[in-house]
């Protein structure tokens, strides 16, 4: 049955009579894709423009007339790309506006600093040769004329942030910056009026330029992550079959569902909402919600939760208000508590700023007092104090951390890790204990066939191709084995039993053991393998049993070993049954594991670990992990996790491998080391510069050289965060402390 998705909710009517739609495109990997996509849709009638943004992988479409937007999606699908309607989230638009604003400020500061430097160099060289006082005054006034409006405009990001911090009774890095800039500017104007030889206009605008560079880089890093996250969210945007008054299903975006709506959930579909089953009976897999891998029997009146997978039968579900969803409600409440606890974490940069600001101001004040005490005029004393302020103004300091963050997050990006929060790197670097969830984290989120080797290859291939015709979730595991992706013609699906097709005169069946007449074989297999689901296939007289279960991620054992080799204590905390967790823990060599943990148990366990003084990284994907993710010092979840869980995680990793976790820890440790090195460099710079400024040797020329020199130094040092670094020797013995056995089960 050809179903069309109603995309009208995403189409925007524009003033000039055209309609606009943004699509997030999956599968773009080369330059040729740009023209392929743009010219691929260009023949559609009424299309005004189609423009692909290669950076964000989004296609903007404008068309005239009454074209059903679904034709674009179909056309792109024909070209081999998956397209999904995309709606910009408010946060992303806000970030984009801020990035533009910072870029404007950066441009103004750049313009001003170049022009003023031109004037300043003339004055510096004139001062040692033959510049006339009139010309010098003229240049100084000109510099003032450029820098005053430029600073007023380009300094806004710092002024606003400083005022905001002061209003809340805090200080941050922007407070000393603002005070330094304003004082230096003020003194320079006074000096200009007094026909002095030196002014600091050039230092001020250069300082502003460097600082804005740091700010913009910081912003760009967060925007890139957010873009990818938003795309992924819309790629996974879910749809539901809503039943209208006559009981006819229509495909609508899940976001359009309201309480009391009736929704049809077919076998193999994910349940899109929390609700009550009105009719139908089925088994649902709630592993994403609770971590439990055994399907749950469900009939009329039972409650279902968003994210569960419907296995065997069609269900009609009445949507309940989200606020009444018992499980979601509970999870939400726990989440809020945990999140508020985490916001108390202070960033390294803020900590430094808090210590730094008073020291700088004290140093400047002491300078002024000592100069006055030694008989200097108030004018000279204040001027020297200003020199101290400018030279200590944390230019290198403000660049030290963002540049490392940008470079390191770029390196993480290449390792398939996306950071959600800027301070995640620092917290990740200090982790000493990693707690893994089992289902979907250590294991792959999708099912796969466990006993491939025991099945004749041609029978397996036949079963896999036959599985293409089935909607059953267990069939999806078999589909992964198919090399030939064309379904058999004339395959018939018997609901609740299996699929059959006649190929080359022989009937092939795939489905429940009874359907394939293989119950005797199944009985033997189930006796051996407790945690797997069983499907059977038969061709003529050949019969085989396929064991389907969630397999470990291919590199899990290797990664866990490496993690332990680098001194991290690895643990498992799962909501699944002990019988399902034990073999996984054994395979990975993890002794500290716990099964059957409910969300509250997970939180309690994490709190206990934290109380022991450990810094805990939680890796999990299920809805039941979300509160635990928020409780942990830092959290990572796979991209297959539920929305709520991902929103809570500090970082997200892509792909089937567990290696990104190892990379994340390695890169963040190196980045943290570089941040501290950079801060040390900035400190050493100050140790030399402050005494010079104190003694009054810092002319604007010296200030300019010192500032650009130290900024370049920390930036170059930060670039070292990019390299992959040397891996720990894999064959090395595992020198971890003996893992503590934890309570098993509840």
């Amino acid at each position: 049955m050809a179903e069309t998705l109603d995309l009208s909710a995403y189409v925007r009517r524009q003033d000039n009579g055209t309609s606009h739609l943004d699509l997030a495109i999956e599968g773009i990997d080369c330059a040729a894709c740009i023209s392929e996509i743009e010219s691929g849709v260009s023949h559609l009638p009424g299309l005004v423009s189609a423009r692909l943004n290669y950076t964000t992988h989004r296609l903007a479409l404008d068309w005239q007339g009454t074209l059903d937007p679904i034709v674009f999606v179909d056309e792109l699908c024909r070209l081999g790309y998956r397209a999904h309607p995309f709606q910009a989230r408010a946060v992303e638009e806000e970030e984009a506006r801020r990035a533009q604003w910072l870029l404007k400020c950066l441009a103004v500061a750049g313009f001003a600093s170049m022009n003023i430097m031109l004037l300043a160099v003339s004055v510096w060289s004139g001062n040692v040769s033959d510049i006339s006082p009139e010309t010098r005054d003229f240049f100084h006034w000109l510099a003032a004329l450029i820098s005053l409006p430029a600073v007023a405009y380009a300094g806004q990001p710092f002024f606003r942030s400083a005022i905001g911090a002061l209003k809340n009774g805090r200080t941050n890095m922007d407070v000393p910056i603002t005070i330094g800039i304003l004082l230096a500017l003020f003194m320079s104007v006074i000096e200009t009026i007094n026909h002095a030889e030196h002014t600091y206009f050039d230092s001020v605008v250069m300082l502003l330029f460097f600082l804005l560079c740091g700010r913009y880089l910081d912003q760009a890093m967060r925007r890139r992550t957010r873009t990818v996250a938003c795309n992924l969210a819309s790629l996974r945007a879910e749809v539901a079959h809503r039943l209208d008054d006559r009981g006819e299903p229509a495909l609508v975006p899940t976001a359009a569902l309201k309480p009391e709506d009736r929704v049809l959930v077919r076998p193999g579909e994910r349940i899109p909402i929390d609700g009550i089953v009105l009719s139908g009976s089925s088994e649902v897999d709630e592993s994403l919600v609770t971590g439990e891998t055994l399907p749950r029997q469900l009939a009329g009146g039972g409650a279902v939760y968003a994210g569960s997978l419907n296995h065997t039968g069609a269900l009609t579900v009445r949507v309940t208000a989200t606020g009444q969803g018992t499980l979601l409600d509970e999870v939400q409440r726990l989440l809020e508590n945990a999140a508020s606890a985490k916001s108390r974490y202070r960033q390294l940069a803020d900590k430094v700023a808090r210590a730094y600001a008073p020291v700088v101001h004290l140093a400047a004040a002491i300078t002024a007092v000592i100069w006055i005490a030694n008989g200097a005029t108030v004018h000279d004393a204040v001027l020297t104090a200003v020199a101290v302020l400018i030279i200590t103004c944390p230019c290198a300091l403000a660049l030290a951390i963002p540049v490392v963050q940008v470079v390191a997050s770029g390196a993480l990006f290449r390792s398939n890790v996306l950071l959600n929060s800027g301070d995640a790197l620092e917290r990740l670097a200090r982790v000493d204990t990693i707690v893994f969830d089992k289902t979907g984290t250590l294991t792959l989120p999708e099912m796969s066939i466990a006993n491939k080797a025991a099945i004749p290859p041609d029978l397996l291939e036949a079963a896999a191709r036959l599985a293409l015709s089935s909607h059953h979730p267990l069939a999806a595991a078999a589909v992964r084995e198919a090399r030939n992706r064309r379904p058999f013609e004339g395959a018939i699906e018997e609901p609740g039993q299996g699929v059959r097709a006649v190929v080359d005169g022989a009937e092939i069946r795939l489905g429940s053991p009874a359907f394939c007449d293989a119950e005797d074989l199944a009985a033997i297999m189930v006796g051996e393998q407790m945690q797997a689901s069983v499907i059977a296939c038969a061709r003529g007289h050949e019969r085989a049993i396929l064991l389907v279960r969630q397999a470990l991620r291919p590199d899990a054992a290797q990664v866990i070993k490496s993690l332990r080799a680098s001194g991290l204590d690895c643990r498992i905390l799962s909501g699944d049954r002990p019988a399902a967790v034990a073999p996984i823990a054994a395979a990975l060599g993890i002794e500290a594991w716990r099964a059957g943990a409910k969300p509250a148990d997970k939180i309690a366990e994490l709190e206990r670990l934290k109380a022991e003084g450990r810094r805990v990284l939680m890796v999990g994907d299920g809805l039941n992990d979300a509160p635990a993710l928020a409780t942990a010092d830092i959290s990572i979840s796979p991209i297959t996790a539920t929305d709520l869980t991902q929103a809570q995680a500090d970082a997200v990793f892509l792909g089937d491998l567990l290696e990104p976790i190892l990379d994340a820890v390695t890169i963040s440790r190196r980045a943290h080391a570089l941040m501290r090195q950079n801060l040390l460099l900035a400190l050493i710079y100050n140790l030399f510069a402050v005494p010079l400024a104190f003694l009054g040797y810092v002319t604007p020329l010296v200030a300019a050289l010192a500032m650009s020199g130290s900024s370049s130094l920390v930036t170059l040092n930060a670039l070292r965060a990019r390299g992959k670094g040397e891996r720990k020797n894999e064959t090395e013995a595992v020198p971890t402390s003996p893992a503590v056995p934890v309570l098993q089960g509840v």
């Binding site: 330059a31 023209s35 950076t55 170049m114 003229f138």
Partner: protein, 49 residues
């Protein structure tokens, strides 16, 4: 020093032109797809064969 009266406004004007051009390109959306722009230049579908 009369030449300064001519050169300095000229220097400022050039700088302002650069700034103006940058702000225009920013508003024009030329920084929205930096990677795409680098690749589009390689596309020669617009040339007659």
């Amino acid at each position: 020093m009369n030449v300064l009266l001519f050169l300095i406004p000229l220097a400022l004007l050039l700088g302002l032109t650069g700034l103006g051009a940058f702000l225009w390109s920013l508003r024009n959306g030329q920084y929205e797809d930096v990677q795409g722009a680098a690749l589009r230049v390689l596309n020669d579908d617009d040339l007659e064969p």
